[in-house]
């Protein structure tokens, strides 16, 4: 696999995308706290480098599958911000017209085959999409994002087998954020997850998921390989979930703890966005002002997205009937 580091402009683009995800989710966190969102939200804060570094190499026609923690994947793949926020607000203008919510944000026209509420559902969907892409011979690639917890669903092994056997244009990206809901990975997951792929003769790359350049490099090699028809790659990206499993998780925990505050603090010090900002700011004053522009531009976009959502009409309840089938009554 060829190695290459992201250029300065590419680093700025990565920074901007990570910051967009971060600021959007910080706002969602606050809106959730204020009681403004009808459903639960699972936030990706701290893990942005993974989706961003991977999706930087994807074309509009490439496809991804995502998880219940899917806002970052959606935004990294080029999903529309206003439409996502409006979806989470259950508005008519939402990307799924208010029918799906946070756990189901999807834009099939952009190859975003959906966040998913069923843990591990993405494996087989991605494998099927990659099979279809292979048959179509248009050079499309599929990326399957999933968690360390999801890796324990048996379908992962079934999909690794098919992907390897058929040389599918598929990249498995395991986002190892150390928790499966409230269970530390060490208590529910044995061995190194990427070794599962090695057993099926799939090449593996283990990367620091909080280093966007490292993710970018690994993904570049894997996606190139898939596009060239050389088959699947498995990336295991190590990162950390800063927020709770879901917002307001303390209500479920009833005073119980499953991790130390010190551990969270430690990982906050390894924030992928802060470290890239430092690296870019060290380049000079031009870069510093560029960073500031990015920040204010993104803050304005997030504000606008929330305003757009709040001003939008509520979802149309009749869609529950008219959208069940294509051209057929339920």
């Amino acid at each position: 696999m060829t190695r290459a580091a992201p250029s300065r402009d590419e680093l700025f683009a990565l920074y901007e995308r990570m910051l967009l995800i971060r600021r959007t989710e910080e706002r969602l966190r606050d809106e959730n706290k204020a009681g403004n969102l009808p459903g639960a939200v699972h936030l990706y804060i701290g893990e942005e480098a993974v989706a961003t570094g991977v999706c930087a190499h994807l074309r509009a026609t490439d496809m991804i599958t995502s998880t219940h923690r899917g806002h970052g994947h959606y935004l990294a793949k080029g999903g529309d911000l206003n439409a996502m926020v409006a979806e989470i607000y259950a508005r008519r203008t939402g990307i799924c017209r208010g029918m799906g919510g946070s756990m189901h944000v999807a834009d099939f026209s952009k190859g975003i085959l959906g966040a998913n509420g069923i843990v591990g559902a993405g494996f087989a969907i991605a494998t099927g999409a990659a099979y279809s892409a292979q048959l179509a011979k248009e050079g499309r690639v599929v990326v399957d994002f999933f968690g360390d917890g999801a890796s324990n669903q048996g379908t992962l092994m079934e999909c690794l087998n098919i992907a390897s056997l058929w040389h599918l244009p598929l990249v498995f990206v395991c986002e190892h954020n150390r928790f499966s809901e409230f269970s530390p990975a060490s208590t529910v997951t044995s061995g190194q997850i990427s070794d599962r792929a090695r057993a099926f003769a799939i090449p593996t790359l283990v990367v620091d998921g909080n280093d966007v350049a490292a993710v970018w490099e690994a993904a570049r090699a894997a996606i190139e390989r898939a596009r060239d028809g050389r088959g699947p790659t498995f990336i295991e990206a190590h990162t950390y979930r800063i927020q709770g499993h879901m917002e307001a998780e303390s209500l479920l925990l009833g005073g119980q703890h499953y991790r130390d505050d010190a551990e969270i603090e430690g990982w906050k010090q390894r924030c992928p966005i802060t470290s890239l900002r430092k690296q870019l700011a060290a380049l000079g004053s031009v870069e510093v002002s560029r960073l500031e522009q990015i920040e204010s531009h993104i803050m304005a976009r997030v504000d606008e997205a929330v305003k757009f959502a709040v001003a939008s009409e509520p979802a149309d309840p009749e869609l529950a009937f008219s959208l069940m089938f294509d051209g057929q009554q339920p």
């Binding site: 009808p38 459903g39 639960a40 979806e87 259950a90 508005r91 799924c96 208010g98 029918m99 799906g100 919510g101 756990m103 189901h104 998913n116 509420g117 069923i118 843990v119 591990g120 917890g149 999801a150 324990n152 669903q153 048996g154 499966s180 809901e181 409230f182 269970s183 208590t187 529910v188 997951t189 479920l252 925990l253 009833g254 119980q256 499953y258 509520p314 979802a315 149309d316 309840p317 009749e318 869609l319 529950a320 009937f321 069940m324 339920p330």
Partner: protein, 343 residues
Amino acid sequence: MAKKRYIHAINEALFEEMERDPKVIVFGEDVELAIMGDCRGLLARFGRDRIRNTPICEQTLTGMAVGAAAAGHRVILHLMFSNFIYTGMDAIGNQMAKMRLMSGGQARMPITVIASYGGGGANAAQHSDTAYPPLLNLGGINVATPATPADAKGLLKTAIRGNNPTFFMEAGGRGGEQGEVPEGEHLVPFGKAVIAREGRDLTLVAIGSMLKPALAAAKSLAVEGVDVEVIDPRTLVPFDAAAVLASVRKTGRLVVCDEARERCSAASEIAALVAERGFDSLKAPIRRVTTPNVCIPYAPNAESRVIPGADTIIRACLQISPAKTSLFSAAAQRAAGDLLPGA
């Protein structure tokens, strides 16, 4: 007797049965921290040999329940949301439901699967289903649908002591509701319905989560002069057909409400049963009140449009209510809307 929440009544049953029989074990995803509330405190009391977190792997968990039961344990598998029944369906349909007959009666399947069902929380399509209808069709699976804290405790204890697989379906939105719960030994038999409210004009069968809106509907209908009898079957398999038929013989009218989707719902099965065996007593067509044949949308306004509530039940009851009631009172017309026959 003491007032307890539904979820605490379930917790109490788990404690008592684990105390009573060392062969009872609990496993499932995050049961140790007990995020659903029902398993709270079990780890501290019984330790990890008796209650254990598992990885996320429902297809395996349902199969493991079969194996551990075959090997001599009394298994409680917690599947969290009832949608995950679909994820674990193979061993449920092909093993759990069939092992006893296939083995010529050798195998015993003392398995209780706990799952929380229903919508109303903006949890969207994959976390809001009322997923018992496919279980009803399997044959070898019991299904309990407690609506009150007392029945939750009593049915769970019966399920755990039984030698057949039982799905214990927690009404998701009802965990915080309170009711009187008998202390200690309180067993509710399977296949025994209760009359939650007596009435003369119409039989309203309400399953699990639908009992509360059904009772509210009955109260409103009483003001309209319709005297509704509300029956809670408590278990869908086995089903107390005699209780429903006896009530319909008295009232001549039947409405069945079920949070599951209409097609092949428990309501459909109950309606078919009464149409077959109670036809002579019927004075009006049977009505089912269910979620329509759609998946549960996220937006709260759309969600409440599809999940039945007291209003939906009132409308259905008025459609088939006896003419002697003040059917054409202003209030009744408002409630019945354009669904009134002939309107």
